[in-house]
């Protein structure tokens, strides 16, 4: 592969603005790369590696992390491995710690970044997305013209589909008093169903404050509001919650792909919801 092919196919900017300028000035398809675990895998999906890459690994701003602050700030280049090792322990953050620790495999976790996980359009099974959704994370963006913007993660999921050049610079999320969980059905390499849960109880032990996000089932991860609305005020009984998930599964639009048909993703979802609530219950004891 290394013979008779173009050189200077990778730019190595040192700042966010420089990277955006390169992206804006390019007359050929030019894309940012972070951990490169999606981009380099392109040929196995019959997608060629884009002709020009803008490497983000030299940009110091994207490597700024503050795990001890509240809100916690993760620069876009934080790898899954770094997140799994560095997040403070705490039931509220357990969803993200598990998502980062269980995704992919150890070698990939050392490379794949949170920025890449959020920005890759067409990858429905990103583990960090539902975990960050139930943490009410916001996404920090840099736009052409030296503009900066911070979006709620759900808004960002719609934003990233619009054409235009931007960089994700990081994510931010506050600590909270809820208990969280993250469960998934792995299948070869990508999971086929993911549930992230974050739940707060009232004095009588009923669900008062609930966020539940589903990944890998639909085209994009999303908060399952239909479930949240019905479950609020109930006891967090894993079996009952699994049954509720079964009842409400018609509110989802499952996708079929080579790794699993849509019906299968929906079929395993109640068991995932049950397991997520069982994790929460175990944490409560």
């Amino acid at each position: 592969m290394s013979r008779n092919i173009p050189r200077d196919t990778m730019a190595l900017p040192e700042s966010v603005d420089e990277a955006l300028d390169i992206l804006a000035a390019s007359d050929i398809e030019t894309v940012p790369i972070a951990g490169a675990t999606w981009i380099m895998r392109g040929p196995t999906r019959y997608e060629p590696i884009p002709p020009r890459l803008v490497a983000l690994n030299r940009i110091a701003e994207l490597r700024e992390y503050d795990f001890d602050s509240d809100p916690i700030h993760l620069g876009a280049m934080a790898t899954h491995d770094l997140i799994a090792r560095s997040l403070p322990s705490g039931a509220d953050l357990r969803c993200l710690a598990l998502a980062a620790h269980q995704s992919a495999n150890p070698g990939i976790r050392r490379l794949a970044t949170v920025g890449g996980n959020l920005c890759v359009v067409g990858f429905a099974a990103a583990d960090l997305v539902p975990a960050l959704m139930v943490l009410d994370a916001t996404v920090c963006l840099a736009l052409p013209g030296r503009r900066r913007l911070e979006l709620d993660l759900s808004e960002f999921m719609a934003f990233r589909r619009k054409p235009g050049r931007y960089l994700t610079t990081g994510v931010r999320f506050a600590r909270n008093a809820r208990i969280s969980a993250h469960v998934r059905v792995p299948m070869r390499d990508y999971p086929v169903c993911i549930v992230s849960l974050s739940v707060g109880m009232d004095a009588s032990g009923r669900i008062a404050d609930l966020r539940l996000a589903v990944g890998a089932v639909e085209e994009d991860g999303r908060r399952w509001k239909e479930f949240e609305d019905e479950a609020r005020g109930s006891e967090p009984d894993p079996v009952a919650m699994g049954e509720l998930a079964r009842k409400l599964s018609t509110t989802l639009t499952p996708r079929s792909a080579h790794d699993a048909p849509g019906w299968y993703r929906v079929q395993v979802l109640p068991a995932m919801v049950r397991r997520a609530f069982a994790q929460v219950r175990a944490e409560m004891r």
Partner: protein, 166 residues
């Protein structure tokens, strides 16, 4: 633009396409064919090398990202003509079958034992989550690794399977 890095302690320069996976540079340009090319998708671990001391799949590393990096391939895991502890254990336990997965296995496990000198069976298996083996069924690999670990593994041995009486 040329990319300069170190492979097994030797300075190397690559002047081709910076998007080229390190795997292809190692095998095609430097003739270090111990690193195996199997899935080319970050899934099987056969192409694992150490980059700045961390085991990662070389098929997922565009070489342009590696300016100044220190890369260790299976050829650099022990002096020529010698085996490292993990390699020797694999030989002693007659673990290797087709061998495609083993360069990656050796790199992953050598790194793992560096920070976990007394692992249990389950920990070894977890460390191997990114290294697929189609031949061995893993158990003998784990046995070989446990054989070179200091004790305290006894209680972590798998239970002897019960033979049901019919």
């Amino acid at each position: 633009m040329d990319v300069q890095f170190f492979v097994n302690g030797e300075e190397r320069t690559f002047g081709g396409d910076q998007r080229t996976p390190l795997l292809d540079v190692l095998r095609g340009d430097f003739r270090l064919t111990g690193t195996k090319s199997v899935c080319r998708g970050g899934f099987c671990g056969a192409c694992t090398v150490l980059i700045d001391g961390e085991p990662v799949p070389s098929c997922q590393r565009p070489v342009g990202l590696l300016e100044g990096a220190e890369i260790t391939t299976i050829e650099g895991m022990a002096p020529v003509g010698e085996l490292n502890l993990v390699q020797q254990a694999f030989l002693d336990h007659d673990v290797v079958q087709c061998g495609m997965c083993f360069p990656g296995m050796v790199i992953t496990l050598t790194h793992f034992l560096g920070s976990n000198p007394m692992p249990g069976r389950a920990e070894i298996k977890e460390a191997l989550a990114g290294n697929m083996c189609r031949c061995t069924g893993y158990e003998r690999i784990v046995d070989a690794v446990l054989s070179i670990c200091p004790t305290e593994q006894a209680e972590d041995q798998p239970p002897v399977p019960e033979v049901s009486e019919r």
